[in-house]
Symmetry: C2
């Protein structure tokens, strides 16, 4: 059996792509089962509820040598612990290639598009496998989520085409209204604890040989999130100590205004933000302007900054 899963701290793409790719693999003769590596965020829960689809089961470990298919990630720091001892047979992803390697030939499909679900849609079309309405709804939701309904600079013409194609199959006539509902669901943080908010969309990256935690809160209500700054900074500080990180950044992305304000935890992070991005810091918040994509605008700038030092 091949376990199919997206990254830790899963987002909508990580969970829906695992579900759809596991189904795709089964249809092509591979015994595959979808899993998740963490709890769904509010947007993902909204999407699954709307589609009438159950959450895939939580996976926390696998015996060495187990077959796995990765979606929406490839770096071991973002995956199941012990990934290097598992047999990766398939990867479908739209991120940079990290520390993955294999002992035998493997199936890899990476494209620099806005969402894994865009690639999965292409895979179905290439194989002449029809996409069911429920799966079309899941895939469409992932593309809207990852591209912030085409606002993110990661958006490509293929993502737009795929959404138009999937909307027809899913019977979603007003895509903008649906995207608005998704983003409102994601922003309805209510009494979510600050530690949970930090980890909702959070990944660890290595820069200059040391680990940094990069969280993003995409919201239609940035004032609410920034209003909880003190609690969030406490949660970031606790995470930095607990996971022995060199730094933690938490970006509050205003989905509708397309701006990024990043909380500044200490002098280390302040230096990073001002030197790597030329950001100005006011009241412990760095203004990162329109850099709303971690993948395309935050991580590459940090890579370049650390490489130039």
């Amino acid at each position: 059996m091949t376990a199919v899963f997206g990254h830790l701290n899963p987002d909508t793409d990580a969970i829906t792509s695992a579900l759809v790719y596991a189904s795709f693999l089964r249809r092509t003769g591979v015994d595959a089962t979808a899993y998740r590596l963490g709890e769904p965020n509010l947007e993902t829960a909204f999407v699954l509820r709307g589609a009438g689809v159950d959450l895939p089961p939580l996976l926390t470990e696998l015996p060495a040598g187990s077959s796995v298919a990765l979606v929406d990630h490839n770096e071991s720091a973002q995956s199941l612990p012990g990934l290097h001892d598992l047999a990766v047979t398939h990867v479908v992803d739209h991120h940079k290639l990290g520390d993955l390697s294999t002992n035998v030939p493997v199936y890899l499909r990476f494209e620099p598009v806005g969402c894994t679900a865009t690639i999965l849609t292409k895979l179905h079309r290439e194989a002449n496998l029809p996409i069911e309405p429920t799966e079309a709804r899941l895939l469409l939701s992932a593309v809207l989520s990852d591209t912030l309904h085409f606002r993110s600079p990661t958006t490509t013409a293929e993502d737009r085409e795929v959404v138009a194609y999937l909307a027809q199959i899913a019977g979603i006539t007003d895509v903008s209204a649906y995207a608005g509902e998704m983003f409102a669901a994601k922003s309805d943080l209510g009494d979510t604890p600050a530690a949970t908010m930090l980890k909702m969309d959070y990944k660890v990256f290595e820069f200059g040989g040391r680990p940094y935690g990069l969280g993003v809160i995409e919201t239609t209500n940035p004032a609410y999130v920034l209003g909880r700054k003190a609690e969030l900074l406490e949660a970031m500080d606790a995470e930095k100590a607990a996971s022995d990180l060199a730094g933690v950044l938490l970006s509050v992305v205003d989905i509708l205004g397309e701006t990024n304000r990043t909380l500044v935890l200490s002098a280390t992070e302040e230096r990073l933000l001002t030197e790597a991005f030329g950001a100005t810091v006011t009241d412990g918040v760095a203004d990162l302007g329109h850099r709303i994509s971690r993948k395309k605008q935050i991580v590459p700038a940090l890579e370049a900054y650390f490489e130039s030092r």
Copy 2:
């Protein structure tokens, strides 16, 4: 401009795939040029002559930061020196994933099939780009070469389908006869120096953290090659010293008999061959039975052997 190339010590797949993928990229709007990283072997020269296609130019270095597309390889030890400082934008390959990593999202297409040309054929069909007869001949030659006309255990149903499809476009009615001519051309070693023979199909791999050179001579006339054992051992010894290798293996693969006899350079290699493969050694030649695929039968066994030590 994006430079497109296959591995060092190029074989037919490395050279023809670079030519066809560069053309494919140009047709999809990427400014791409094909190169080779070494001299063609006798089979590749025969294939290009038959197709009326010029050799791509030799590439020996590129400035740091240059854009490159890799075909038929992905490991830095098999690529242009300084690969880690180049910007890899595309890889089409059918080998295991080695030490590649990127700073930004990338296009990767890896499939565990017999030949890169099989994947390239699929890319054209998915994009609805017709394959010209000359390119069909190049791609078909690569699949016949890499799979030893379907004798290699790396052969998949897709490789067979692709050859049938390409033969029609290329107007090759007797594929077996054409494959026979290719293998005869490859085997016509005449007065080729032993050092050249060693390097005709030769790659360096890391096992247990140390580099090993693995050469293969695929021939319809193994008696001729084994008759030059003394010279070949001298060339292997010189290469081992010059490149500071932990070991050098040279396998003489009988294409028609589907057997592998590997020259034993020293006690180090003898131990490796007897322990990793259970081979018997007679007169300085190890009998590796029907293990005719370096990728599928030699490298994985050596990986497993070094991991278990």
